[in-house]
Structure formats: C-alpha cells, structure tokens
C-alpha cells in the first residue's frame, strides 16, 4: 500500500516553478513519506522479529545478533514448497474464476435493463452482509454432501461468486460513458463484443482491483481452508504455518518468519497488478 503512496508522491512532482507551489509540494511529500512510514512500520517490525532468536523476542539487539534460524526452522520442519504450491493453485483458481464471473455479473447489472434488476442488486448487497462465520458450517455440510472434503475445488468453487466484487464491478462499469457503447452498437457490435472491446479495456483498473482483492483474501484466508481440509498434503500456507508451533506454546519469532514467507508473494503480486491500477500515473500526475 505504501508503494502506491510513494509512487503518487513521485508522480505529483511540481510542474510549476513558483516558490509557493514548491513549498506546497514539499509539505505534500513530507506528509506522504510520513504516511508511508507509518503504514510500513509494522511490516518492518515483522521482518525484524523474524530475524530474532526466541529469547530476544521484543527486545532490541545489535544487527550481529540477528539470525536466519527461524527461516531454516520453517524450511526444515515443513513441506513449505507443497504449501506454496497448494496456495498458488487455489489462489489462481479463485482469481481467474472470480474475475470472469463477477465481471460478467457486474456488467449485466450496470448495463442490462431487465425486470427485477434493482431487486437482484439488492439481493446481492444483502448477501454481502452475511458474514462467513454464519454460512461456513452450512457450506461445510454441503461440501461433505458433494464429497469435496479435502479437495482443491472445496476451496475454489464456492468463492468464485463474490457479492463484493460484483458490486465493485457494477460501480466500476457505471462510470463509463454510454456514448462509446452506443457508437459500438451503431457499428454493429453485439452485446458480448461491446463488453469485451469497450467494457473490459476501460474498466481494467476495476478488474485489477478485483484480482488483488480476490487474490489477497484467498492467499491470506484461514478459516475456510482450516475447515475444509484436514489432509496435510492439501494444507495451504496459512494453515500449514499455523501448525508450526510446539505443542503447548508458540514461538512468536518462528511465526513472524512464517508471516514474512506468507507476505512476500502478496507484495510481488500487488506490484504486478498495481501497474494496471495506475497505468498512466506518470503522465497524468496533475490529477491528484
């Protein structure tokens, strides 16, 4: 997140040479840098704690006393490669499927005129309010009925349709000017072509946001995989890393190392998709 702030700060560089403008932009820089630091501080703390020996947890030590022991503990005590793979498969499945399903649904709600459109939309927003904790057990029973316990599809299929993402896409599509579609229709483009050639490219930011949201939720999700899987071969990272503790107590430093291992791919993924969210930011910095 802080990466956005700093990039924005960089993008907001002054076009004018006037002194007061420069002072203003200095203040803006200072504020953004401070904000970025505050946002990033806990993450640095996690990184620092992951390099401490258990006895040093929560104390300040000289850099020479830092150690990679926690990481080697994780790597030697756990099939971390398998966990990464499982997490990647599930996340990729959810992201790909969710982007297709929710984008189509959002387009329909934003652009199609059909009877009961408002009702459907209200129903989706209503579903949004049902917390996972309330429907997880009924969902579990359903998964048991389907014979999907301990399978990838139990972690993917139920989470393709996401009301929040449909809502996001509907809002995203509703900002597009209708004139473009009307022009496309006059040129003889069908509904699906209009969607693919006008809707999707112009809402690529919305779609990228969707991918980031679905990706981070799935990657970081714990309650669903811990409920649906009990076979260690199918553990995702969050579940597996949770099992990395001694029987009656936890070693916070090892857990912090686990969080770092869990977070790195998310940061990479975010940096990749971020380009789609802020594609032309360098050339259009005046906006902010």
């Amino acid at each position: 997140m802080s990466a956005v702030a700093t990039r924005q700060a960089a993008a907001a560089s002054p076009r004018s040479a006037s002194g007061s403008r420069r002072a203003l932009s200095m203040i803006r820089y200072a504020f953004l840098i401070l904000f970025a630091l505050v946002m990033a501080a806990p993450l640095f703390f996690v990184l620092y704690a992951s390099l401490l020996s258990p006895a040093d947890y929560l104390s300040l030590v000289p850099p020479t006393q830092l150690t990679l022991d926690n990481y080697s503990y994780v790597v030697t005590h756990a099939p971390i490669g398998q966990w990464y793979l499982n997490t990647a498969i599930v996340t990729a499945g959810v992201v790909l499927g969710a982007v297709i399903v929710n984008t189509l649904a959002g387009w329909a709600l934003a652009r199609f005129r059909f009877r009961g459109r408002q009702l459907v939309f209200l129903a989706i927003v209503a579903v949004l309010m049902v917390p996972l904790q309330a429907y997880l057990i009924p969902l579990y029973l359903q998964i048991v009925d389907l014979g999907w316990l301990n399978s990838y599809q139990a972690l993917v299929i139920p989470f393709l349709v996401n009301p929040l993402l449909i809502f996001l896409m509907r809002q995203s599509f509703s900002t597009l000017p209708r004139e473009l579609e009307e022009a496309a229709a006059i040129d003889g483009a069908g509904r699906f072509r209009t969607f693919l050639q006008i809707g999707v490219p112009l809402s690529i930011t919305g779609i990228a946001t969707q991918a980031i949201l679905a990706g981070t939720w799935t990657w970081n999700g714990f309650l669903v995989p811990v409920t649906m899987t009990s076979d260690p071969d199918l553990f995702v990272l969050t579940v597996g890393l949770n099992s990395l503790q001694a029987q009656n107590y936890t070693l916070p430093t090892v857990q912090m190392a686990g969080v770092v291992l869990l977070t790195i791919p998310i940061v990479v993924m975010f940096l990749v998709f971020q380009r789609f969210i802020v594609p032309s930011i360098a050339s259009s910095g005046i906006k902010g």
Partner: protein, 414 residues
C-alpha cells in the same frame, strides 16, 4: 435477437463448465467424507515433535495390524477444538481422536459424539492398572471409559525465582495465604505483579481446586471453596498484585513469566520445554499448587488420550488400533521422539521424572493423589460465562463472586 442468443450461448457454456466441475466432484458420493472402509482415521493437532511421534506410533500400528491409517491433522489444538463440533455434527470426525480431558469431554460423551470403549478394549492388551488412577478416572464419565491415556498432564505452580529474589523472597510459599502475601510483597518491592493469570476456564479452575473446591460435573459450582478460590484472585487483582497475561502484553502466562514480567503463575509440565527453549537463563521452579494448609498442595491430574468417535465405521478395529497407539512401544516413543509430554504409564512417567530434574516435585504419590477436572456438562458455555463474569468482577466489582457462582449454579448445575 442475435445479441441475446450470443450472450445466452456464453452463459450456457459457463453452465456446462460448472456442471462438469460439479459432476466430477460429486462422483465420490457423500460417503467419501471422513473415512473409507478398511481404513482408520486418526485426528490430532500437528506440528513439530507431535508429527514425529504420531508417524512413529502409526508405523508401529501398521506393522502389527493389517490396517491402513489415515491422519486428519489440525494445525493447532485450538483449531481442533473449534472444528470438532462441526465434524461431529456432519459425521466427518476422525475415527480416533487424540486430545486431553481439559477439553469438553463430558459434553461430547453426553451428546453421544464419542463412545465408551470399556467393552471394546476387553479383548486387547490394554491394562488400566498400569496408569495412575486419577488419570484413568479423568476419562470415566457416567461409568463409561472414553479414552485410553497416552500422556499425562498435571497442573502446577511456576515461580520465576529471579523475580522472587528481587523482592527478597527465598522460600517458596507453602499455602495460599503465603502465596498471596508473597504476591503483595513482589508488587510493593518490584512494582511487578506477583501472579500472572491467563483468565480462562482451566486456569481459574486451578485456584478453586487449590482452595479445596471443584465442580463435580455441576453439582458444586457455588461451593464455599470455589468462592474462596475466586476471592483469592479478586483480592490480589484489586491492588495489582495479580494481573492477566493480556494486561502484561503476553499471549499466555508462561511468556510473562519467561520475560520476568511477573513472579509466578499456575502452569504445568509444558513450562519445562518452553522455558528451556525461550528463556534458558531464567531460573524457575515448578511445584504442586500451594493449598489451604501447609503440606497439602493440590494438583489436577489429567492428560491426553485416544478417544473413539461414535460415528466410527469399524469400532472393533479402531479399538485394536487404540490399544497399539497406547502400548509400551508407543509409550517409549513419547520419550524417544522428545514429544515433551509426560508418558501416561506409571513406569514411563517415572523414567521421564528421572530424566527431567525440573519435574522432580511431581512424584508418583503427588500425581496419584491429584484431583480430576470435573467440569459442568455444558463445559464451553460454562467456561465462557465464568470467565466473562470474572473479568467483569475484576473490571468493576459490581457483583460478588458469590452471586456469580450462584448464577452459574442455576444455569449449569445438576
């Protein structure tokens, strides 16, 4: 028209894909949930030494018996306790469950989620005489035995002798009154609380047991002794001589003790492994919990064991598996895999004590005289109400422990 049919064509294609995915999944049918035929599932909370221990004894079972063992692993014991109710309801719980009887065993037994195994183990080598009596009794609910013990746990009192020394205390307290006096002395001399408490059912119960109380499965919730146990804590909380682990910024009591944030806490053998790993330089002592009178300390003896799910397909085979999971070879594995637990059989517990100087105070006699955890039947709900009520008493003291316990007796009493 053309446009619409194209759209519906795309939707139809999606439906086909979804149907294909659904179809191939459901071919397994509803039965493929927890266990297949000729296969026994064992559920336990995994991680570290437990995985080594479990794979060792599972291999032992598979060597001796023509059976395929499958494991169902919960990442933490907390997760196990959270998932089991759902799995019992959906009949997907493992056939055999490794847990300890500080869990709501009586609740699951009365609800019929687990089954008694007395008759099933009659034909096996299980000899209940090899275990401390209190340990076996802890698994007996309404005349039924609900597990064969695997490891032994007991409550204890842990002292950070560095912090005690800083307050000028050299002799460990022998009674609850001594303990309170020492806690206050630590507070006034060092500013640190003398006692750190992890305020949950298990730990609150230890103080009531120390005061001579107990629940007797709900018959004696509002006893004078239980009231005395709570008042002991409340008095110390009032002047800051006792604080919760949370208040001290620790996730549990042992962490506070290891970091020298408090002088003492109730605990158990798990402190030994923890202190050795995270605070090797901190001096501590582990003793039975001081009681009302000198010379009559209290411990709760309980422990881990393998229970049998009521939904198990093949209880006879499962019972044979349980017998092997708890036989002498498996008990040796508790020690050889460095599980960090005290083996359940008296003989191996003695061996553990000989190898572990910190555990010396817990002689066979002390453990045999231990009380069991006789929680009210609706254990989880009772625990929630007891702890929340206690926290309210600490926060504002608007009621009294007498009223709290009387209310709980009405709601959960038998």
């Amino acid at each position: 028209m053309n446009r619409i049919s194209r759209t519906s064509g795309a939707l139809a294609a999606l439906t086909v894909v979804a149907a294909a995915l659904t179809g191939c999944g459901s071919s397994g049918g509803p039965s493929s949930g927890g266990q297949g035929a000729g296969q026994i599932t064992i559920g336990y909370a995994g991680g570290g030494a437990v995985d080594t221990y479990m794979s060792t004894i599972i291999k032992h079972v598979e060597d001796k018996l023509d059976v395929k063992i499958k494991t169902a692993v919960y990442p933490t014991y907390d997760d196990q306790l959270n998932q089991l109710p759902t799995q019992f309801a959906a009949k997907t719980a493992p056939d055999i469950i490794l847990w300890d009887n500080s869990a709501p065993i009586a609740q699951y037994a009365t609800e019929g989620a687990i089954q008694p195994i007395d008759d099933l183990i009659k034909g096996t080598d299980v000899d209940l005489g090899l275990y401390p009596k209190a340990l076996v009794e802890g698994w007996r609910i309404e005349d039924g035995l609900y597990a064969v013990p695997s490891y032994l746990q007991n409550s204890a009192y842990a002292f950070n002798t560095d912090v005690l020394g800083a307050a000028g205390i050299t002799d460990l307290p022998q009674t609850l009154d001594d303990l309170a006096a020492d806690a206050r002395q630590v507070k006034s001399a060092t500013g640190k609380p003398g006692i750190v408490l992890l305020d949950n059912l298990f730990h609150l119960t230890q103080y009531m047991l120390a005061a001579g109380g107990g629940y007797d499965f709900g018959k004696t919730i509002d006893s004078k002794e239980n009231e005395a146990g709570l008042d002991f804590l409340l008095g110390l909380f009032k002047d800051g001589s006792a604080q919760t682990a949370q208040q001290l910024g620790a996730t549990w009591d042992g962490e506070a003790l290891a970091n020298g944030l408090a002088a003492s806490s109730d605990g158990g053998p798990w402190y030994i492994g923890f202190m050795g790993t995270t605070a090797p330089d901190v001096k501590y002592e582990l003793t039975p919990i001081p009681g009302v009178d000198a010379g009559s300390p209290v411990v709760a003896t309980y422990g881990g064991g393998f229970s049998l799910s009521a939904a198990a397909k093949d209880p006879e085979t499962a019972a044979k598996v349980i017998a092997l999971l708890t036989d002498t070879t498996s008990q040796e594995a508790v020690l050889s895999t460095k599980l960090g637990f005290v083996p359940a059989m008296t003989k191996y517990a003695d061996q553990y004590r000989d190898e572990t100087p910190q555990y010396a105070a817990f002689t066979a006699d002390v453990l045999a005289a231990g009380v069991s955890l006789d929680y009210p039947i609706k254990t989880t709900e009772f625990g929630n109400d007891l702890v929340t009520g206690f926290q309210q008493l600490v926060a504002d003291g608007s009621t009294s422990s007498k009223e709290l316990l009387a209310g709980l007796q009405d709601k959960y009493g038998q």
